[in-house]
C-alpha cells in the first residue's frame, strides 16, 4: 500500500456511508447569468467535502442555495431525512452554520458578543425574562457564556474577547467568524474560502482548527477553497464546478489528475 492509499483508506473509515445532505439538480440563474446548471452531489456524515473551481464558477452560490440565502429555480435538497429547501433561519435551527467569503461579522460588537450571537437561537427565555435578567434567564445566559468560552478557548482568542471586531486584523476576524459559526454547535459547517487573504502561518492555524472541529466534534464540513494544496491536505472528497456545471466529483488525488479539471483551471476554452 502506498502512502496516499493509506491516507485514503483511513479517510474512508472515518466517513460513514450515511448521507447527511444530498443536493439534487440545482439550477440557479440571475437574469441571463446561469450560476448553477443542474448540480447534484452528496455530503456524507462526518466528511470534509471541498468545492473548488475558478472564480465565478458558482461555488458561493451553491452554499447560498444550501442554507436558503438564494432560491434556485429548480432542484431540491435532502437534509437529515427531509427533502425541501430551507429558509436561512430554518437552516440554522436545523444545525447548518456558515462563514462568508467576504467577512460578515457584526462590526459594532465585540468578539465575545459576536460569538454569543452565534448561540442566540439556543436562548429560550423571552424578552420579558431577559429584561428582568433574573433567575432562569440569568442562568441561561451564564450557561451560554460557558459554551462560548469553550469556543474561545478552542480557537485561542482569549486575549481579544472584549475587543470590537472592527479593530482586529483580517486573519483574526476570520477566526472570530469561525467561532460564531461553531458556537451554534452545528452538524454541518459551510466555510466559504476560510483561508483567503491569510498568511502562511494563519492558514496553517486555520487548517488545524478545521481538522480539529471535524475530528473532535464530528462536525461535517463543506468548504470552498482556492489553495489546491490545502484542499489536497484536508478534504476527503472534492466537487469541481466550472461555469456553473459540475465537472468532477472525486477524491483529491483523482481530481488533481482529471484532465477536465486541469483544463478548467488553465482556462482552456469550451
Amino acid at each position: 500500500m502506498t502512502a496516499t492509499e493509506e491516507i485514503q483508506s483511513a479517510a474512508d473509515q472515518r466517513i460513514s456511508d450515511e448521507v447527511l445532505m444530498s443536493v439534487r439538480n440545482i439550477r440557479l440563474s440571475f437574469g441571463g447569468v446561469k450560476a448553477l446548471r443542474d448540480v447534484s452531489f452528496d455530503i456524507a456524515k462526518g466528511e470534509i467535502r471541498a468545492i473548488i473551481g475558478p472564480n465565478g464558477a458558482g461555488k458561493t452560490s451553491m452554499l447560498n442555495v444550501i442554507n436558503g440565502v438564494y432560491h434556485p429555480q429548480e432542484g431540491t435538497i435532502f437534509y437529515k431525512g427531509k427533502t425541501g429547501l430551507m429558509k436561512p433561519h430554518e437552516a440554522a435551527t436545523k444545525g447548518i452554520s456558515r462563514t462568508f467569503q467576504n467577512l460578515a461579522l457584526f462590526r459594532g460588537m465585540t468578539t465575545l458578543d459576536n460569538i454569543m450571537t452565534g448561540r442566540n437561537m439556543k436562548i429560550k427565555r423571552n424578552f420579558l425574562w431577559q429584561a428582568l435578567r433574573w433567575g432562569p434567564a440569568q442562568r441561561e445566559e451564564s450557561e451560554n457564556r460557558e459554551a462560548v468560552e469553550r469556543v474561545i478557548g478552542f480557537l485561542e482568542i482569549e486575549s481579544i474577547r472584549k475587543t470590537p471586531v472592527g479593530r482586529l486584523p483580517y486573519g483574526l476576524q476570520k477566526r472570530v467568524e469561525l467561532g460564531r459559526a461553531l458556537a451554534a454547535e452545528p452538524e454541518l459547517l459551510l466555510l466559504d474560502e476560510p483561508m483567503s487573504g491569510m498568511n502562511v502561518e494563519e492558514k496553517e492555524d486555520m487548517c488545524r482548527f478545521i481538522l480539529d472541529v471535524n475530528d473532535e466534534f464530528g462536525t461535517t464540513i463543506c468548504l470552498i477553497e482556492h489553495d489546491m494544496s490545502v484542499v489536497m491536505d484536508i478534504s476527503d472528497r472534492v466537487v469541481v464546478l466550472d461555469y456553473g456545471s459540475k465537472i468532477a466529483d472525486d477524491t483529491p488525488n483523482e481530481v488533481r489528475a482529471n484532465q477536465a479539471v486541469i483544463d478548467a483551471y488553465l482556462g482552456v476554452s469550451h
Binding site: 442554507n67 440565502v69 429558509k87 436561512p88 433561519h89 437552516a91 440554522a92 435551527t93 452554520s97 456558515r98 462568508f100 460578515a104 461579522l105 457584526f106 462590526r107 459594532g108 460588537m109 458578543d113 454569543m116 450571537t117 452565534g118 442566540n120 437561537m121 436562548i123 424578552f127 431577559q130 429584561a131 428582568l132 435578567r133 434567564a137 440569568q138 445566559e141 451564564s142 451560554n144 457564556r145 460557558e146 468560552e149 460564531r180 459559526a181 451554534a184
Partner: protein
C-alpha cells in the same frame, strides 16, 4: 491609577456579565443615583427641578426609546414624537375614563398602546429599510397628529384638541410639589433604564445589533428578522409612550397634540445622535445636551450681542451653532458623547503612564 480593572479578578461569568463589571463604573453610577435621589431634591430649587431635571428624566427616556430602535436595531423612525402623543392621549383616556386605575397601571397601558401603534408602523420594515422606512415612519407622524387633532373623542370631546390632565394620585397621595413629581419621574426612569440595559446586553440586544450590522448574517445564524425588528418597534414604542404620558401628566399638565410634532421627533433623533447610538448612557448625555444647549447658547450670545445692536441675529446664530454641532457629531464622532466619555475613561485607565 484610579480607574483600573486590574486586581478586580472575576471568578465567574456572572460577575463578568454584571451590568457594570468595572468597580469604578459601578461606584460612579451609585454616586449618580445617590445625587439624583438625595442631593438634587435637597439642594435644587423647584425652578431647576421643573425646568431642567424633570425634562431630562422624560426626554432621556424618549431618547432611550429611539436608541433601542435606531442605535441597537438600526431602524430609523421619524415618528417618535407621535408615538409619545399616543402614550399621552392613551394615559389621559385611561385616567379619566377609569379614574380608579392606579397611575402606574395607566402608564403601562399607555405604553402598550404606543407599542401597538409603533409595531403597526414598523410592519413595512419587513420589506423596506433605511431612507424608505424613515419616510414610512414620517407618515406615522402625520397620520397620528391628524387623528388626534380631528377625532375629539380622544381629548374628551374638547373641540380644541387640548385638554388638562388629571393630577397624579398614588395610593391616595396627590403629587403636587416639584419634588414629588421629580421623584415620580425618577422612579419610572430608573426602572425603565435598568430593564432596557438588561434587554440590550442579553440575546435580544444581540439580535438587534446583528440585524443593524449585517442582516443577512443575522438570518443565517438563526435570527428571524421580522419578529426581532417588530420587537424593537414594540419595546421602543412602549418607552416612547411612557415618556409621552410623563411629558403630558408631569410637565405640560395637559394633552396637546402640538407638543408632539415633527420637531420633537427630530429632537429625539438629535439626542440619540449626539448622546451616542447604541449606548444606554448616551440617552442621558443626549437629552441633557439638547435641553441645555439652547439655554447656554442663549445666555452666551445675549451677553455678547445684546449691546451691539444685533439682537435679532441672536436666535438665528443659535440655530446655526446647534445645526453645526449636530453636523460635527455626525461627521467627527458618530458614536456621540458616550464615545467621548469611554475614550476619556480609556485614557484614564492608562494614566499616569500612557505607554
Amino acid at each position: 491609577m484610579l480607574y483600573r480593572e486590574t486586581g478586580q479578578i472575576k471568578t465567574d461569568y456572572k460577575s463578568d456579565m454584571a451590568m457594570f463589571p468595572i468597580a469604578q463604573d459601578r461606584w460612579f453610577i451609585y454616586g449618580c443615583v445617590a445625587v439624583a435621589v438625595i442631593g438634587l431634591p435637597l439642594f435644587a430649587s423647584s425652578y431647576i427641578i421643573e425646568a431642567f431635571l424633570i425634562p431630562i428624566l422624560i426626554w432621556s427616556l424618549a431618547a432611550l426609546s429611539l436608541n433601542m430602535l435606531l442605535g441597537y436595531c438600526g431602524q430609523l423612525s421619524l415618528g417618535h414624537g407621535a408615538f409619545m402623543a399616543v402614550g399621552a392621549y392613551a394615559a389621559y383616556n385611561f385616567a379619566t375614563r377609569i379614574p380608579e386605575l392606579n397611575i402606574f397601571i395607566v402608564f403601562i397601558l399607555a405604553g402598550l398602546c404606543a407599542a401597538a401603534v409603533s409595531v403597526l408602523f414598523g410592519l413595512p420594515s419587513m420589506r423596506i429599510k433605511g431612507f424608505y422606512l424613515a419616510v414610512s415612519t414620517l407618515a406615522a407622524q402625520f397620520v397620528i397628529e391628524w387623528v388626534f387633532s380631528t377625532v375629539t373623542w380622544f381629548s374628551g370631546d374638547n373641540a380644541m384638541g387640548t385638554v388638562d390632565t388629571p393630577a397624579i394620585v398614588i395610593f391616595g397621595y396627590k403629587l403636587e410639589s416639584s419634588i414629588d413629581l421629580y421623584m415620580f419621574c425618577l422612579v419610572i426612569n430608573i426602572v425603565l433604564f435598568v430593564l432596557a440595559k438588561n434587554l440590550v446586553r442579553g440575546s435580544v440586544g444581540r439580535s438587534w445589533m446583528a440585524i443593524r450590522d449585517m442582516d443577512v448574517a443575522a438570518s443565517v445564524i438563526g435570527i428571524r428578522l421580522l419578529p426581532a425588528k417588530l420587537l424593537a418597534f414594540g419595546v421602543s414604542g412602549f418607552y416612547a409612550g411612557v415618556a409621552g404620558a410623563m411629558y403630558a401628566f408631569v410637565y405640560l399638565k395637559a394633552c396637546d397634540i402640538t407638543s408632539f410634532d415633527l420637531f420633537q421627533s427630530f429632537n429625539i433623533l438629535f439626542m440619540v445622535i449626539i448622546g451616542g447610538m447604541g449606548s444606554v448612557m448616551g440617552a442621558y448625555f443626549g437629552a441633557a445636551f439638547i435641553l441645555l444647549l439652547p439655554i447656554v447658547l442663549n445666555i452666551t450670545f445675549q451677553t455678547f450681542f445684546a449691546t451691539s445692536g444685533f439682537a435679532g441675529l441672536v436666535s438665528n446664530i443659535e440655530h446655526m451653532v446647534f445645526g453645526g454641532l449636530i453636523m460635527f457629531f455626525l461627521i467627527v464622532e458618530p458614536l456621540g458623547l458616550a464615545r467621548l466619555w469611554s475614550t476619556a475613561k480609556e485614557k484614564l485607565r492608562l494614566w499616569p503612564f500612557p505607554h
